[in-house]
Amino acid sequence: MTTLTERRPATGPPAPQRPSLRHRLAERGVDRLMWLLLPAAVFVLVLFLYPFFYGLQLSFQPTRGGPFADYQRFFSDAYQRNTIWLTLRLALPAAVLNVVASVPIAYRMRGRFRGKRTLTTLLVVPITLGTVLTAQGLLNYLGPTGWLNRTLMGLGIVDDPVRLTNNYWGVFFSLVITGFPFAFLLVLSYLSGIDPTLERAATSLGADWKARFRRITLPLLLPGLATTFCLTFVLAFSVFPSAVLVGDPTGETYVISLAAYRAAYEQVDYPYASAIAIVMGLVELVVVAVVLFGRTRCYTGSTGGKG
């Protein structure tokens, strides 16, 4: 609250002796209000862009070899190179599942009904669990002597315990549990932002629910789905604690963030770690860019819901 006021006195006129320039700038929207941007801009510059470029130049100064030695080292080592594939194999299906599963559930819940708030709260609760409790819970619940295997064996569905932890599936479940509530919330808010009168108009023109969903709701929702996918994908892509705790951190779930962490803190090779981090960022940005490019081909105007 007081944050703004304290900044206000500092927003004096920048150049009172040159009114013409000031006037011309103000016409393009640049006036003393811009001073309010300064703290945030400086902040991003110092704490995000500077470290990023520092890491970038560090990655080209490896402890041994030429400027690209660390990148060569990463891509020539099959065990390290494979981390990209292992990460994508976890993150892409998890993100897709989270988004796709959210749509029908949010679609059912977009109207007003009794207990909506309670149900929303319940669906948001998994956010509070945190990776460690999820990991512990998955180990207990899905483990060989856990409740799920007991139930399955008791019902005679399986004879031997199903192995669902310390491998790919443990990490996958953990990603779904932590990622789904987040995706659901975003999809629900995008869906609620679509003006319901649009659908009613379609109904009055004789469209059944399939046609309404396909031709009215879905096109308006697609940009939101793309954004949601990107955000959940970022969450899933940086999977780190669960890959160690419920995964198989030396084999099946040796993800790229783990490779970067090991290079930095176990081998204390910062240039190599930076190189891996840069590769990781690039791979992630390629996926996000593809999705966001697809998003520009969608309708991104008003959904009528913003009032």
């Binding site: 944050t3 470290p51 509070t128 990776t131 460690v132 892509f237 940086s238 970067a260 930095a264």
Partner: protein
């Protein structure tokens, strides 16, 4: 007329798919309940091997976890870090959000993209170079490093959350106040501030939840006595071995209860469905 004839058919068609959807939701919750309950039961159990339930119940693990892991200090550190991050991110982010919502200027899209990047990148990607820089200047390894690192995604997050709230405040209100002779200070205190309280609350609570739950950045920059609860949990669990699983579970339960309180408080102040767009729920049928 068409509406009247269509309505009943809609419900009949929708019914089976509706059951599938609710079935999936219930399946998800049953398993989730199993996961949470197994941790909860284990944290109160004495010994639990190849049976449905532990052989006895006790609360000793909580006391043990509290003493063994110095949980009181860890919780204090967590609260300190979160309060500082919330305060600073509002101070830096809110004014920027105001300008971004009000003005159109050259380079605005580029600036917006730069502000969004920290949210769009996995924390480890920029966390490792950031930690390297912070260690270089001696800022990491204690509280200030943890706060600085956590601010990186929090400031953009405040900007992102505040912008829709700010766009809803009609600029003509401010203009009208100025016309009536209000000073900048008065415009801020009597027009903007009261209208922005929900936005500020929403942003601060979301940042709080994020910071308490943020693992990677804290993990990379924390020293031995600046670990937040998540990092402490991870460190104990990954180096477990001989330690009793039950006391780790007890600590995890403490963490989750803390987060649960925060999220329930958060949901009292913000409607999660209105984060992206304001909803005209009155017209909803």
């Amino acid at each position: 007329m068409a509406t009247l004839t269509q309505r009943p058919r809609l419900q009949i068609v929708a019914r089976p798919s509706s059951w599938i959807v609710w079935g999936v939701v219930i399946f998800f919750f049953v398993n989730l309940l199993g996961i949470v309950a197994s941790v909860l039961v284990n944290s109160f159990g004495t010994q639990w091997f190849d049976t449905w339930l532990p052989s006895g119940f006790t609360t000793q693990w909580y006391g043990e976890a509290w003493r063994q892991y110095a949980l009181f200090d860890v919780i204090i550190v967590t609260l300190e870090v979160s309060a500082l991050v919330v305060g600073f991110s509002l101070l830096i982010g809110a004014p920027a959000a105001y300008t971004l919502a009000r003005r159109d200027f050259p380079g605005k899209r580029l600036l917006y993209l730069v502000f969004l990047l920290p949210i769009l990148m996995p924390p480890i990607t920029y966390g490792i170079p950031l930690a390297t820089v912070l260690y270089k200047y001696g800022l990491a390894g204690h509280l200030s490093g943890v706060v600085l690192a956590n601010l990186v995604p929090s400031v953009p997050f405040v900007i992102l959350t505040m912008t829709p709230f700010l766009e809803q405040v009609d600029p003509r209100l401010e203009d009208a106040a100025r016309m009536c002779g209000a000073s900048t200070r008065a415009v801020f205190f009597r027009i903007l501030a009261p209208l922005l309280v929900p936005g500020l609350l929403a942003a601060s609570i979301l940042v709080l939840v994020r910071t308490v739950g943020m693992f990677e950045l804290t993990f990379l920059t924390a020293g031995p006595d600046s670990q937040t609860l998540v990092v402490k949990l991870y460190n104990t669990m990954s180096s477990a071995g001989i330690r009793a699983q039950q006391s780790i579970d007890a600590m995890a339960v403490v963490y989750t209860s803390m987060m649960l309180v925060l999220v329930v408080v958060a949901l009292r102040f913000i409607n999660p469905t209105q984060l992206v767009a304001r909803v005209k729920e009155d017209t909803d049928s």
